[in-house]
């Protein structure tokens, strides 16, 4: 009896303690008993940071999401929906013949109180002298950087890389020389990571809130130049917290539980949540999302029969992309143009060429094309011209469920055209390693993000030389397509002055014609700028049906592409 009493008392005591703990912790909302960032004044985002936050180095790929844009700003920004550059830290920036002239905006201040000047711009560009700087290839072509007050004039040794340089202007974050003067070597450029970076942006890093495994906290900078100069509305959220991602499933839970305001993960079935008014998206109905990059079928063009453009065309014609778009993605994505050029680059699409050289889904026509060019059917499957069986392997990173479903659909639709494809399961690292070294037949891939110029897309497709040894291709031309003419056109495009619109048009036309004729890649669909937002705490989100046509993403590089406008236009509920 005594033991029963003892057990009961112990149990009751434990329950009481647990109840006290949980009631203290759970009585949330704005009245949380623990010191907190008030929820009603805090914007919570997620979907960018996978794995721990590496720190505050804007030159490595894993820096705190939001740092470039919220803290360290760029000279220009780019609006992909309007296709226009936005003057930002620069009052103006552009080409003057073969020289690039930047006029720094006056009244911009660093968070340490010092004025942002032309010298700071020169300092930042000159960090490119280190071999580990991503713009080192552009810096080596710089002849002189002349600073005169707020004007910075850059002259080049040879013909400028017009497109790459312009791209740099809205991608190079301005970091404070006070902190960055410690960078004296290429190695130090990679290890630079101040606890609280000095910036010019609308927010500063709240160092006390930083937890590399969980979140980064930004606090509003009340002295932000853009609000003072009425260049931009002052952002309403006092704090922004970007949470580390663990999985799409966890993100879905967090969105449904009201933890996150803006989520940038791919969430399967989000169209149903939109229909139930649980979340909103940029478009209220299909395609729901803006387009971020092109997903394509990447053939290894060095292997037979994929080295034959006719076979690649037949393969392209066998792709039932419509099925992938409607059944796999429930119309969260759009089918790609045969050029693969993103919708924001529509103005570059040569419609006559698309009509002439584009491809359409048609398994019967694909069969006929192969037969016409000497491929023979045997037992329902095509053989090579030499009579050998064709059996291509196709892989996607294991666990990428949407791509796995698409892969299965592709296998089935190719089978209808008599092309045998076998699924090969590979984890991401094996998949990436095999892709880089050319150990594959077919992969589904998407490498080049939305940008200000289709040159980044062409550069990715046609880049030469193809590296055949060591780690192989590390950033472009994974299809290992060797076309010297196309590569020359890509280089020429980069060296064409932006006012030479006629030549730019002609070069883009040629490059897309080559793509559609030779199909080194088979464009399939456009992956979305995955973005779903809730209105529990913040309203006035961007939408295609409003004047707020901004790209709702915290992804790296996207805050400069009007992502910051999303934040500055939010209203407290």
């Amino acid at each position: 009896m005594k033991r029963i009493w003892r057990g009961t008392v112990l149990g009751v005591a434990l329950v009481a303690v647990a109840a006290a703990v949980f009631s203290t912790a759970a009585s949330g909302g704005g009245k949380a008993p623990y010191a907190n960032y008030p929820r009603s004044q805090t914007l919570i985002t997620s979907g960018t940071q996978w794995g721990n936050i590496a720190g505050m180095n804007p030159y490595t790929g894993n820096y705190a999401a939001g740092m470039v844009g919220l803290v360290n700003e760029t000279l220009l920004r780019f609006d992909p929906i309007k296709g226009k550059y936005i003057d930002w830290l620069a009052k103006s920036a552009g080409w003057s013949g073969k020289k690039y002239k930047i006029v720094v905006r006056s009244g911009v201040k660093w968070t340490n109180g010092k004025a942002f000047t032309g010298k700071d711009v020169a300092f930042n560009i000159n960090l490119g002298r280190f071999k580990t700087a991503f713009w080192n290839n552009l810096w080596v072509n710089v002849k002189q950087i002349k600073v005169n007050g707020n004007t910075v004039l850059i002259t080049f040794k040879g013909t400028p890389n017009y497109i790459q340089w312009q791209n740099l202007m809205w991608n190079l974050p301005m970091i404070s020389p006070v902190q960055a003067s410690a960078i004296k070597s290429a190695a130090q450029l990679t290890t630079y990571s101040p606890n609280v970076p000095i910036g010019t942006g609308p927010y500063t890093v709240a160092a006390g809130g930083f937890d590399p495994t969980t979140r980064v906290v930004y606090q509003k900078n009340n002295g932000w130049w853009a609000a003072k100069a009425h260049v931009s509305p002052s952002p309403k959220p006092k704090y922004i917290i970007d949470l580390v991602n663990t999985s799409n499933t966890n993100s879905l839970d967090a969105v449904l539980a009201g933890v996150e305001d803006l989520n940038n993960n791919y969430l399967p079935g989000v169209n149903q949540l939109v229909a139930q008014h649980k979340v909103s998206t940029y478009y209220p109905s299909k395609p729901y999302m803006l387009s971020a990059n092109t997903a394509w079928l990447e053939p290894n063009t060095t292997r037979a029969p994929l080295n034959d453009p006719v076979f690649r065309r037949a393969l392209a014609m066998s792709m039932n992309t419509g099925q992938v778009v409607s059944q796999d993605y429930a119309h969260l994505v759009r089918p790609a143009s045969p050029t693969g050029l993103l919708p924001t680059w529509n103005k570059y699409i040569d419609k006559a060429a698309v009509k002439k050289y584009g491809f359409k889904y048609g398994p019967s026509a694909a069969k006929k094309l192969l037969q016409k060019h000497g491929y023979k059917l045997s037992g329902g499957w095509f053989q090579t011209k030499g009579g050998q069986a064709i059996n291509l392997d196709l892989s996607v990173p294991q666990g990428w469920s949407d791509w796995e479903t698409a892969r299965n659909m592709i296998v089935n639709s190719a089978a209808q055209a008599g092309i045998k494809i076998t699924v090969k399961v590979k984890d991401y690292n094996t998949w990436a390693s095999d892709r880089n070294t050319g150990n594959f037949d077919l992969v589904i891939d998407n490498n080049y993000q939305l940008s200000d110029n289709p040159w980044t897309y062409w550069n990715g497709i046609y880049h030469l030389p193809v590296i055949k040894s060591g780690t192989g291709q590390t950033f472009a031309n994974f299809e290992r397509y060797s076309n010297a003419t196309a590569w020359k056109l890509v280089q020429k495009l980069d060296h064409t002055a932006p006012n030479n619109t006629k030549q730019i048009r002609a070069l883009n036309d040629k490059l897309q014609t080559i793509l559609m004729q030779k199909l080194p890649l088979i464009p399939l669909w456009y992956n979305g700028v995955w973005a779903q937002f809730t209105s529990k705490y913040w309203t006035n989100w961007p939408s295609a049906k409003s004047s707020r046509r901004y790209v709702p993403a915290m992804w790296r590089g996207y805050l400069q592409m009007t992502g910051i406008d999303v934040i500055t236009h939010l209203k407290q509920k």
Binding site: A20, T24, A32, G51, G61, N137, G208, N429, T456, F475
Partner: protein, 331 residues
């Protein structure tokens, strides 16, 4: 006794060397190259610059050296207490990642292992003597012990967090909480700790309860128990002896189960976005972060070896036959 411990120490030392070698070899023999993953995040447009940056990182991580040299440097660094630098979170030291993650994992593991073992054994012993309990609650134990940790975690989140909003969906603390060493923040930590703890506890509890229930039934049917009964010993005394004998395999089972429970903790942390070692190792494996994989597994190896050593000592205490046997006597 000294000989016994010396022999054990030699076995543990050999196990350590082999385990650490495997720990080093597995990530290094994985296909792919972690620097490529890092390069993919930087997105450099120019191949010459890409090559420069690639070479820089390969040198920084000693990955440009032959494998035997990398292995040698690994042991040299280990004896200097240097576990290297994370590739994914460059330039964060691995030790800093581990020291940040370890409290979370220990906070889950120690209570889950200790409480599930204690409560499972008590409950199993109780169920063995009560037919009603044995037929009603114990089947739940079978279901629990057969439940994958991950699945139970997802189920708990869905029901208690997403649907009923009773508990948080994940993380170690509320995203808006300001961290501090005070009661409100500690209670917030406990609130976020409870569900991952519960999923670990429930699965392990089922296993211990079933094991103990079977052992008690076996012991109560053994000759010594019948003999004691025939002598007129009270049931309580018989049950006490039965429990003491039945608990021995459970102690051995605890040593064997440590690895499985640890594995369960790793997946549980992933499900709950709980930033312990499991979550870190998952990220490290998917990104081929060699040094973080090595560092965390090293800690796990040391932890499991130490725990086994403790169990060995406990066994000496709870089983007099072992103790007497080692002292040269006969049980």
């Amino acid at each position: 006794m000294t000989r016994y411990f010396l022999r054990k120490m030699v076995i543990y030392a050999l196990t350590f060397v082999v385990a650490v070698t495997v720990d080093w070899a597995i990530p290094h023999l994985m296909p792919g190259n972690p620097v490529n993953t890092l390069m993919g995040r930087i997105q450099i447009q120019d191949p010459k610059v890409a090559h420069q940056v690639y070479t820089h990182y390969m040198r920084a991580f000693n990955l440009d050296l032959p494998l035997w040299k990398q292995y040698w440097y690994f042991w040299v660094s280990l004896f200097h207490g240097d576990l290297g630098t994370s590739i994914l979170q460059f330039p964060t030291p691995v030790m800093s990642i581990i020291t940040h993650a370890i409290p979370y994992t220990l906070a889950l593991l120690i209570p889950a292992i200790a409480l599930s073992w204690y409560a499972g054994n008590k409950f199993g012993a109780l169920a063995a003597r009560h037919m009603g309990l044995d037929n009603t609650v114990l089947p739940l134990g079978y279901a629990l012990t057969a439940t994958p940790y991950m699945w139970l975690g997802i189920l708990l989140i869905w029901v208690l967090a997403v649907t009923w909003h009773v508990f948080p969906v994940g993380f170690a603390y509320d995203p808006t909480a300001v961290r501090g060493f005070d009661w409100p923040f500690i209670s917030n930590l406990a609130y976020h700790w409870f569900l991952p703890f519960l999923s670990l506890f429930l699965v392990a509890f089922g296993g211990w309860a079933i094991g103990m229930r079977n052992m008690i039934i076996y012991e109560l049917e053994s000759d010594y128990a019948h003999y004691l009964g025939a002598l007129g010993a009270p049931h309580r005394l018989i049950r006490k002896y039965a429990f003491r004998n039945a608990v021995l395999p459970q102690v051995t089972g605890l040593a064997l189960a440590l690895g499985a429970i640890l594995g369960g903790a790793l997946v549980t942390e992933i499900v709950f976005s709980y930033p312990g070692l499991g979550y870190q190792i998952y990220r490290a494996i998917t990104n081929e972060d060699y040094f973080v994989i090595q560092g965390i597994f090293l800690f796990i190896i040391i932890g499991v070896l130490l725990a086994n050593f403790v169990v060995d000592i406990v066994y000496l205490v709870v089983d007099p036959r072992t103790r007497i046997g080692m002292e040269g006597g006969r049980a």
